[in-house]
Symmetry: D2
Subunit: 278 residues, 4 copies
Amino acid sequence: MAGSKFAYVKKFELPDALLPNMFMVFRLDGHSFHRFSDQHGFTKPNDLRALQLMDHAAKSVMEEYKDISLAFGESDEYSFLLRKSTALYNRRQAKIVSTLTSLFTSCYVFHWPKYFPDLPLQYPPSFDGRIVLYPSQQEVRDYFAWRQADTHINNLYNTVFWALVQQGGQTTTEAHATLRGTISKDKHEILFSRFEINYDKIDPRYRKGSVLVRVETPEAPALDSSAQVDVLSTIPDDSSKRKKARAVRTHLELLHCDLIRDEFWDKYAHLLEQHIVI
Amino acid sequence: MAGSKFAYVKKFELPDALLPNMFMVFRLDGHSFHRFSDQHGFTKPNDLRALQLMDHAAKSVMEEYKDISLAFGESDEYSFLLRKSTALYNRRQAKIVSTLTSLFTSCYVFHWPKYFPDLPLQYPPSFDGRIVLYPSQQEVRDYFAWRQADTHINNLYNTVFWALVQQGGQTTTEAHATLRGTISKDKHEILFSRFEINYDKIDPRYRKGSVLVRVETPEAPALDSSAQVDVLSTIPDDSSKRKKARAVRTHLELLHCDLIRDEFWDKYAHLLEQHIVI
Amino acid sequence: MAGSKFAYVKKFELPDALLPNMFMVFRLDGHSFHRFSDQHGFTKPNDLRALQLMDHAAKSVMEEYKDISLAFGESDEYSFLLRKSTALYNRRQAKIVSTLTSLFTSCYVFHWPKYFPDLPLQYPPSFDGRIVLYPSQQEVRDYFAWRQADTHINNLYNTVFWALVQQGGQTTTEAHATLRGTISKDKHEILFSRFEINYDKIDPRYRKGSVLVRVETPEAPALDSSAQVDVLSTIPDDSSKRKKARAVRTHLELLHCDLIRDEFWDKYAHLLEQHIVI
Amino acid sequence: MAGSKFAYVKKFELPDALLPNMFMVFRLDGHSFHRFSDQHGFTKPNDLRALQLMDHAAKSVMEEYKDISLAFGESDEYSFLLRKSTALYNRRQAKIVSTLTSLFTSCYVFHWPKYFPDLPLQYPPSFDGRIVLYPSQQEVRDYFAWRQADTHINNLYNTVFWALVQQGGQTTTEAHATLRGTISKDKHEILFSRFEINYDKIDPRYRKGSVLVRVETPEAPALDSSAQVDVLSTIPDDSSKRKKARAVRTHLELLHCDLIRDEFWDKYAHLLEQHIVI
């Protein structure tokens, strides 16, 4: 074969499978979205259209990859939880990272006109992605709590900041100075006393971010995709107590709820379970 | 800080810097492009518009990332060579793989209407990417030779196959059967004797693939981007003989030429050099 | 400094820290111990002195490295369990693997004369080591069960094999032939009917291997080493519920007991716990 | 099989092959050798017996592993260069690191009595090891230059320091104070003017460290080990210009020479070549 004497270069592609039975969190972030949001005139502190587009892209990714059970988005970032036992692309790291980042990006550009009908995309945006492995449910819960706590901190700051600028007439430099050294309580107070804004009444989408959960569709009449069955048969989760895989029909729900307290995790306990296919 | 008790989850993000002073080849491939090309009615054996769109996306990536000196594309894949001494994203693997894949994808979707003005994109396409490290110039040359030899083999097969089907009236099953066991010479012969096609006269774009080279623009009047200067100052290439970095203006040329023989590498020797900023 | 122009070569030492909060199992195996045991005339099927020397070396390693809570040995291999939260050498893989293998080897050679007083070591033996990460207690239990099941299978085979050779007068080729296709029950039967050996009465050291457990010494009067306290303060195990580290005095017990059933793990539950320093 | 339900734990052993065609440097260091040298009363600034024992252990390792072409030792550390094309243990990192560290350690303990006939080893010493990959000859040369420059700096300091203490009657604190801020020239001057020691006349073993080179034995009458032939046939070094492997007889030479200037590398150019089996 013509190419055979060059084929040795394939030997430099080393395997990069991720450890089995670990939760995978895939997180992506917008690349230079400060500039991107400026160029497209995103509303401050939050642009509803841009957030809805992020949610749409995330939903599309979850519809394509059934092993993602949960996702959380805020601003220009989104985190996805893959089931502990996923055999997606044989758990090859570069393949998973690049494919998921690519599909999200593609959906973002593809669906842009739906959310910005009068504003053409000025240039192609990009995202970067990474995978982090977690051994147990506790760490996964704490990961999502960490992101939501971050959402809270950023959104509270931005809400007051832009109120000072847009309604209070401060320059951005003045607004930063006003906020320097303030704690959460101070910021609530500024919002309420100066702008009559009760932060806790602000749309939970902005305060809590977006939560996409995969839930079982009742009365599932037929078998779901073969992909899920494959997954289960590839990597045994433990020695013996393997439940029979059930292939069920699922759908996605978009929530803007608390991820830190137990309530969510109690209600959606199946999201962290490894055996149940949902 | 509200999130501080959860911040320990960041400790699970392990460093993934790639070894210094190694050539990096970043290759991406279309995900399920067999289906994608069917759905969009790509011309067989080659769709000029689709190939030009790939080239456009690759060019955009190279315009953004100056440390890419060379790229080669065929069909739905593209390979990019990063300079040995690149400090792009501190050589973090997931960051580079995901960002480059993302930008390419974004450009592909963004520029689609230019190449398919009458055919709206049916659904968002995606790509997967990987990075392979090579220690020396010889392996890099052999890598690109490997891809171009692959282009030749595939294109020759596809050209005969679709001639048999489109002009010869064979079914695809019959065409595969006709080609079974044939060697290169036989395929040339079939093309010529049955269809009066001289394979060597076919557009070199299809026979050789697309080569994007970065070349220095003569009379560069001013300094180029600061990014290139940064790169050079971060990772010393050897102990002492460091040449003074020259920040020069460059542009990209699209070629459809041979990458296997010495001629190309002699002419564009700077592409494999580590010290010269181009 | 004289060496400074060469110091860039240090940049090629990439970080290799292992993921936090994972159980580490370190296993080592004798290198070419078939030859080694022949050269030193080890008794077949088991050489008590050689096994005791392995146990001694393993015990010395555990005395030096308090983060090892459990070890299991059979034949020329030994497995060590490091606590999930260990910060030993900042969890650097090569450092841990090489140091533990080195110390075990050193102890083996150093203590050889105690167990083979009349037989000088003929040449320096060596071992190879590796680390495997496990996310949960279940996998750690199954790992040790796997090794002990292996011990059982090998020892039963070897016991019958050497009985056939040593007492039954078979050649080794004949003995292998006799055992071909036999299942466990058959081997018990051969032992009992031909050699009046009740396998279940054989020294549990041979049937079960060696188990080294770290247990708390009652009435510990004083603080133990600072190393353990360091460990706990370095890598937080979870977000908030951190127990106060107790530095306690521990000692090692050598057992030859079942590791597969629950009894052992119920009794020594602390071995898999991450918070308790023992 | 009894163990089969536990065998899934093997899936957690991920591959760890090192990149092909890269030079491997394996370096090991004594673990807590400050304490070790104190306990065994090593002569200061250099203990000839201890250094000879290190050399002996290093030589044994090179006799066992023919793919090591060069080694350099100083104090309680030793670096080994493996041929670029070595297929040793399929280039598995943990296997190579642990085995080489283990064998060196074993030889050190085993041969101790030859060098310290009247001083029994007080406790088992240990070493840690690591592997660093280098893409080109230049970096390998610079690596060894870096280690020898380090040897020079340390030995010059120690020589003056111990002269001040042993002959000059200073306390160690005073000696450190005397040397604070001095440059190389000052140290030479102190040695010469106060103690009539011409540093350049000191045994090159102490000034230059130990260099072990593998050289071809003239008139080699027969084939060497099969291992070397295996190596060459496993990993092709380049596309086409592969020289025929010659299996030749080699031996080791111990030198105490300069590794920084070209002379050494010109004379022993074969040490860095990948094709020649020596």
